[in-house]
Amino acid sequence: MRPFTYTRATDVNSAVQEITRHEKAKFVAGGTNLLDLMKIDVMAPQHLVDITRIALNTIEATADGGLRLGALVTNNDTAYHEQVEKRYPLISHAILAGATGQLRNMATDGGNLLQRTRCYYFYDTQTPCNKREPGSGCSAIKGYNRDLAILGTSEHCIATHPSDMCVALAALEASINVTGPKGERTIPIADFHRLPGDTPHIDTNLQEDEIITSIDLPAKGFAEHYTYLKLRDRASYAFAIVSVAAALDLDGDTIKEARIALGGVAHKPWRKPEAEAMLQGQQATRENFRKVAEAYLEGAKGYGDNDYKIELAKRAIVRALEQAFNKEGAA
C-alpha cells in the first residue's frame, strides 16, 4: 500500500471540501473494496476522506411515498430494515445474496454502488488492463473470460459490474442523490453506471468530487411478485455469473407491468424497458417469458469462455419470472 494522508469529514459539505482540496483523493466508507484494492496497488489514492461519521446512516420515508436509504447505512442494516423487508423485499434478497455477513456489516449502500469490477486481470497489476491502466490493453478479451460480460461490451473492456444490490435498484428504478461542489443532483440508477466504451476506466457518471448522500426507492416496491435469482459457482461468497431481479405487477394472470434487471452480464445492471414492455397485457406463461428473454439477450456477444452465459441468462430470466409469478421470491 502506498502512503496516503487521511482526514475525517463531519458533514456532507466538509466531505466535498476535503475531496476538492486534496489531489487524488477518495472517500472511504466501509473500506471493504477500496482498502483491498489499495493493498494490491490497483488503486492508489493519495488522500482518504473518511465519511463514516457523517449522519447519512438512516432510512426514512420520502414525500412521494418511497424510502430513502442513507448512503452510509450498512448493507445488512438495509437488508434487515423492517420497511425494506416489507415493502422492498427484492432489495433485501439481493443484498443478502451478496458477500458474507461480516462484509455486509461493514459495506455501505453508497460504497456498494461504487464497488469495482471483479475481472481477474483488473486485480493483477502485472497484466494489461484498460480499466486499471488506460491504453494498456484488455487481457480478458483474448484471455480467460468465463465470468465476464456479454452485453454492452466494447473492444476495450468486457468487465461486469459485480453488485447484487444495484441489480435490484435498477429493477425498482431507484435514484441516487449526490452532492458536489456545484450542489446537489439526482441521478437515475439507469444513468449512474456507464458502459465501458473507450473509457473503461470510468465506471460511473458520478464526478470524482461528488459524494453520494442517499438512494431513493420509488413508492412502488413490487413486494408481492418479485424474485432475486443469483447463479453462482458456489452457494455463498461468490459473485454472480448471472443474476436476475424480476418483479411483476399482475391482474390475475395478466401482467400489468414487468421489471427485469440482469446482473453479472454487463458493465452495469442491465435493463431493457422495451423488452419488458412486451409482457404488458400478456399472460404469465413460460412461452411469453422466453420471448422476453430472447429479446433481452438480443445483441449479446460471447468471447469464448463466456458464450454459455447468453443461454444461461435467458433461462435465468424465464426462471426468475416464473418464481416472481409464483411468489417464490426467496427460492
Binding site: Y120, D124, Q126, T127, R234, S236, Y308
Partner: protein
C-alpha cells in the same frame, strides 16, 4: 482388547491453545529487532531480467536492503545443494540464482525493511526490466511432446499384463474416454511464512511453515553451507498445508539469506497471491479404454496419463497405481508421461495421484457398468480385487465389502433406479452415484523419545508435524495408553529439529510411523518400570514378565490379579535419576512388506441439478472407510469430513486457471479460486467399519488424511450423470458444462 485411550473419542489436546490464539504459527513468533521481507514476483513467465532498479525502494527511510540476483552472496549455488526430502528428479529451483525467469511469479527480489508496511510499499517501487522470451504453458497443445521421465518421482508405472487390444476387441462392453483434471493450488488457511531469528555467531533459529522441520533444517544447512547444529527449525503449529509444506518454499530461503546478510532477524510471509507461485497439483489428462465381458467382468484396462511438470524437475505422482489395487484384470496397459511447461514444478497435494487417478478410474468404471447394464455397486462387487496386482501381493487387510454394505444401507442405494434422469423434485434432477477409493497405509522410519519424570508426568517427543490433522492428540493418546496415564499427564512435543528424527508428515503415514515409535519408546519405559517394581522389597510383581502386567490408571498391575499392583508415582521415587527414559527408532516389519497395505473407502453421493440452469447441489454424501484401527473417532471423523468437503471442491469448484497468453495463473486469490464454503456442505456421514490388521504396523492403524478425499469427486460426478444423463469429463463440473 481393553483400552483406556486408543479408540476413544478425545478432544484435541491443543484445541484450547488454538482457539485462544496461544498456539503460535511461523509468522507469529517475535524476535528482537525483527526486520520484514516482502517478495517481488516476476511479471513474465520466461526470459531474462535486464535490470532491477531498486533505488526508489532503497531511498525510503527504513528500507534495509533489496536482495536480487545481482547482489546475492556468492556461495553454495550448486543445484544439488537445494535438494530436499521431497524433491523430484531434476534441478531444484534456486531463488535469486541468476537473471533467468523460469515461471510467472518467480521470486526475483526480496525487499527488507523495518516494518512490514514499509517493505510492502517499497516492493511496489522496485522497477524491473525484462527481456521477454516466448513461453509455453499450454498443456493441451503439448501432449504430443509428452515424455517418459528417466526417473519417476513416484512409483514406475506397473508393467503391462496380457493383451489389452485383443481383450478390448473381444469385450462385450467397452468404453474409451478422456478425463481432465485441472491444476489446483493447496491454499491452506495459513500462508507460507518463515521467521529467521539471528542468534549471533552465524546461528539461526527458524520458525517455518513446513510439514517436517528436519527437511527445512537439512535444506538450509545444505543450501547455505552451514552445519546442521547452526540451524534449528521450529514449527509447533501449521495452519493447514495439504502438501504445500512438504518442500521448503522460497520464503524460507529468502528469510535465511536476509538474516545472514543483515545479521538480524527477518520474517518473510507470502501473500495469498504468492501462494499460487509455487507447487500445485498438476493438470492431468487421462485416456481410458475399458472392456468387460458378458458377465460384467473387467477384461481390459488401459490408462494413459499425461501430467504437467516444469522444465527443471520431473514431477510425477501415483496416478496409474489404482487399477492394480482396485480391480482384477488380466490385460492392462498403464503409462504415465510428462508434459514440460514453463511453470513451477508441481507438488504433492492431498492424495497426490489418487485424487486424479481414482477420479478418472471410478468415472470410467461407472461408464463401463452402464455400458454393461450392471448396477455400479454390483459391478464393483463382481470385480473385487483380492490381491494387489501391481506387486502381486495379498492385502494385509481389506474390509471394503463391509464398506459397500454399510455405506449402501445407510444411503439407501437399493432404492436406486439405474436409469439416468429418473428422479426429480420440481426443477431439480436428483442423482445418486457411488465410487470406491484406496490409499496407501505406509509406515516409514522414525524415532521417538519418552521421559517419565518423578512427578508421574510423561513427555514424549519426535520431530514430526501436526498440520491440523490431530497428531498432538493421537500421539498423546498412544503414549497415555501405553503407560496407563491420563491425557493430562502426557505432553507430546513435535515440530523442533532438535527432537528425535521423523520423516515429513505426508502420505497419511504419520500415525503408523511416529505412533509406532512412540509406542515402542513407551514400551521401553514400561520395561524399566517393571524392573524398578521388581527391585522393590516384597514386590508383588517379582518374577512377572512384561506381558503379564498392564498399565492402567497410573498403576502397574498383574493382569490376572489386579490386587497385585503398584503405583507408578511411588516407584518413580526409587529411580536413580528421578526419571525413566526410552528412546527408539522403528521401521516397518519385514512381514508387513510381504503385503499390500491400503485403506479403502466406498462413497455414495446424492446431487440435485437444476434441469434448466445446471447448478449442482451435493445434498448427501455417505463415506464408509476401512482404515484399520481408529485411534480417535473424533479426530478421525474430522479428517474424513474434511476429505469429503475437499472431494466436493475437486468435483465442483477447484481450478487454477492458466492464461496461456500471459503464462500466468490468473485466478490467484480466494475470491476467484473457489473452494467449498459452509453453505455448500449439506448432509455428510462417516462410517468406520471394523478392520483388524495385525500386519500393517504395530498399532494396526492405516492413516486417514487422504482416503477421505479420493472417492468423493467420482461419486459426485457419477451422481451428476445419474441426475442428468450427461457425462462431464472435465473437472470441475460447473454450470456452464451442464447447460
Amino acid at each position: 482388547m481393553k483400552t483406556d485411550q486408543i479408540g476413544k473419542e478425545r478432544n484435541r489436546v491443543d484445541g484450547k491453545a488454538k482457539v485462544t490464539g496461544e498456539a503460535k504459527y511461523a509468522a507469529e513468533f517475535e524476535a528482537e529487532n525483527l526486520a520484514y521481507g516482502v517478495v517481488v514476483s516476476s511479471g513474465i513467465a520466461k526470459g531474462k531480467i535486464k535490470s532491477i532498479d531498486a533505488s526508489k525502494a532503497l531511498a525510503l527511510d527504513g528500507v534495509l536492503q533489496v536482495f536480487t540476483h545481482e547482489n546475492r552472496p556468492g556461495y553454495m549455488w550448486l543445484d544439488k545443494n537445494y535438494k530436499d526430502d521431497d524433491a523430484p528428479p531434476g534441478s531444484p529451483f534456486r531463488p535469486l540464482y541468476d537473471n533467468e525467469v523460469q515461471f510467472s511469479m518467480q521470486p526475483i527480489a526480496l525487499v527488507v525493511a523495518e516494518t512490514f508496511e514499509l517493505a510492502r510499499y517499497a516492493a511496489m517501487l522496485v522497477e524491473v526490466a525484462y527481456e521477454t522470451a516466448e513461453h509455453d504453458t499450454d498443456f493441451d497443445a503439448n501432449l504430443e511432446q509428452a515424455y517418459e521421465p528417466e526417473e519417476y518421482k513416484a512409483s514406475e508405472p506397473p508393467k503391462p499384463r496380457g493383451d489389452v487390444d485383443k481383450a478390448l476387441a473381444e469385450a462385450s462392453a467397452r468404453i474409451e474416454q478422456t478425463y481432465t483434471h485441472p491444476a489446483e493450488h493447496h491454499n491452506p488457511m495459513e500462508m507460507h511464512a518463515s521467521t529467521a531469528v539471528w542468534e549471533g555467531d552465524g546461528k539461526l533459529t527458524v520458525y517455518d511453515k513446513i510439514q517436517g522441520v528436519q527437511n527445512s533444517q537439512q535444506y538450509i544447512a545444505s543450501a547455505f553451507g552451514m552445519s546442521q547444529d547452526e540451524v534449528r527449525v521450529i514449527s509447533p503449529f501449521v495452519g493447514g498445508a495439504f502438501g504445500s509444506g512438504l518442500r521448503p518454499q522460497y520464503q524460507l530461503f529468502l528469510a535465511v539469506l536476509a538474516a545472514r546478510e543483515l545479521q538480524r532477524s527477518v520474517r518473510v510471509v507470502m501473500t495469498r497471491q504468492q501462494m499460487f507461485s509455487f507447487g500445485h497439483r498438476p493438470k492431468t489428462l487421462q485416456r481410458f479404454k475399458l472392456g468387460a465381458d458378458a458377465d460384467g467382468k473387467l477384461q481390459a484396462l488401459q490408462q494413459e496419463v499425461y501430467g504437467e511438470t516444469s522444465r527443471f524437475e520431473d514431477y510425477s505422482e501415483d496416478v496409474v497405481l489404482w487399477p492394480g489395487v482396485l480391480y482384477p484384470c488380466d490385460n492392462t496397459k498403464l503409462t504415465h508421461k510428462l508434459v514440460g511447461l514453463d511453470v513451477y514444478t508441481p507438488l504433492d497435494m492431498r492424495a497426490p495421484g489418487g485424487t486424479t487417478g481414482i477420479y478418472a478410474l471410478e468415472c470410467a468404471i461407472d461408464e463401463l457398468a452402464y455400458e454393461a447394464g450392471v448396477d455400479p455397486l454390483e459391478f464393483r462387487k463382481k470385480n473385487y480385487s483380492e490381491k494387489d496386482q501391481n506387486e502381486d501381493k495379498p492385502f494385509s487387510s481389506k474390509e471394503l465389502r463391509e464398506c459397500y454394505r454399510q455405506g449402501a444401507e445407510k444411503f439407501g442405494w437399493s432404492k436406486r433406479k439405474m436409469e439416468p434422469r429418473s428422479m426429480k423434485d420440481g426443477h431439480q434432477l436428483i442423482g445418486w452415484g457411488m465410487a470406491q477409493g484406496a490409499w496407501e497405509a505406509n509406515q516409514a522410519e522414525a524415532s521417538a523419545k519418552a521421559v517419565l519424570s518423578k512427578d508421574g508426568k510423561l513427555t514424549v517427543s519426535s520431530a514430526t508435524a501436526d498440520i491440523g490433522t490431530g497428531t498432538y492428540t493421537v500421539m498423546t493418546q498412544i503414549a497415555a495408553e501405553a503407560l496407563g496415564l491420563s491425557l493430562e499427564d502426557v505432553t507430546f512435543k513435535l515440530g523442533d529439529s532438535d527432537l528425535p528424527k521423523a520423516p515429513l508428515e505426508g502420505g497419511s503415514k504419520t500415525v503408523a510411523t511416529v505412533g509406532s515409535a512412540v509406542k515402542k519408546a513407551c514400551e521401553q519405559v514400561q520395561e524399566k518400570l517393571l524392573k524398578l517394581a521388581q527391585e522393590q522389597s516384597n514386590s508383588p510383581l517379582a518374577e512377572t514378565k512384561l506381558e503379564d502386567v498392564e498399565f492402567s490408571e497410573g498403576r502397574i498391575s498383574l493382569k490376572r490379579d489386579a490386587s497385585k499392583s503398584m503405583q507408578l508415582q511411588d516407584l518413580l521415587q526409587h529411580s536413580e535419576n528421578g526419571s525413566l527414559e526410552g528412546e527408539v527408532s522403528t521401521k516397518p516389519s519385514d512381514e508387513s512388506k510381504e503385503y499390500a497395505r491400503y485403506a479403502h473407502s466406498a462413497v455414495f453421493a446424492e446431487v440435485k441439478v437444476d434441469e434448466d440452469l445446471g447448478t449442482v447441489k451435493v445434498t448427501r454424501v455417505v463415506t464408509a472407510v476401512a482404515g484399520g484401527r481408529i485411534v480417535n473417532p473424533k479426530t478421525a471423523r474430522s479428517q474424513i469430513l474434511g476429505g469429503m468437503v475437499w472431494g466436493m471442491g475437486v468435483a465442483l469448484h477447484e481450478h487454477t486457471v492458466m492464461d496461456n497468453h500471459l503464462g500466468r495463473f490468473i485466478n490467484h486469490d480466494l475470491d476467484k479460486y473457489h473452494v467449498p464454503v459452509n453453505a455448500d456442505v449439506q448432509e455428510m456421514e462417516v462410517i468406520f467399519v471394523e478392520e483388524e490388521d495385525e500386519v500393517v504396523n504395530p498399532l494396526g492403524v492405516k492413516g486417514l488424511g487422504e482416503i477421505g478425499v479420493v472417492g468423493v469427486a467420482p461419486a459426485i460426478a457419477n451422481a451428476i450423470f445419474h441426475a442428468t444423463g450427461k457425462r462431464v469429463r472435465e473437472l470441475p463440473i460447473t454450470m456452464d458444462k451442464l447447460l
